[in-house]
Amino acid sequence: MPSVANSLFRALADPTRRAIFERLTRDGEQTVHALTERAGVSQPMVSKHLSALKRARLVRNRRHGRETHYRARPEALAPLVDWIGDYGVFWQSRFDRLGELLERMDK
């Protein structure tokens, strides 16, 4: 399982971060102020969460005047879905090995 997915899990492990990320996905680009009004935590906390999301490449930001605007990068979630799909590949190969083992058990 790739470490890319692992860093995504860490970034999304916090419920406030998930809520912020989802709001950006749903409502489009927003300022830190707008996010803070609805996040239920202080602006420094929101900024901290946004930094963590940015490190995981889940959001990107741009400055406009005094405000910083954030938008979601939903494509960054792809490794997470791939990670679950990886289990399909994993089990397929293990089933092949199970077949080989069953043959060996005959002897």
């Binding site: 492990a13 916090d14 419920p15 998930r18 996905t25 979630l77 792809a78 090995r97 199970l98 080989e100």
Partner: protein, 141 residues
Amino acid sequence: MTTPDTSTRSVIVEKEFPHPPEKVWRALTESSLIEQWLLKNDFQPVAGHSFRLSRDPMPNWNGVIDCQVITVEPCRALSYTWGALGMESVVTFTLTPTDAGTHVRMEQSGFRPDQGANYKGAQYGWQRFMGNLERVVAGLE
């Protein structure tokens, strides 16, 4: 608190083996045999038994999968939880005898954070997030 299983993600692998269910069952439930096709383990076919599967460590992960046996129906069904990287799922094997041997179905489903992470995430459900995630990723193409 009830957590409805709204996760639509699951992994299913099915295969028919030219061997009787009794033999397949041994391969699924005897520790030394499990190691030969799946992973190193301290499995015991006892409901409630906690065990570990271990793969080679990799960056950011020690390779340990924490499991607990849920169902043991000899020669018919076996299920256990599968916890790795803070995500828990359930693995279920179902054996069905056929004319040529045994049909084996493995389903891994219900991906969600393990109990600790789930507790922290209670105020914002991970299940819902996974459902939304599906939609988001489906919309990428």
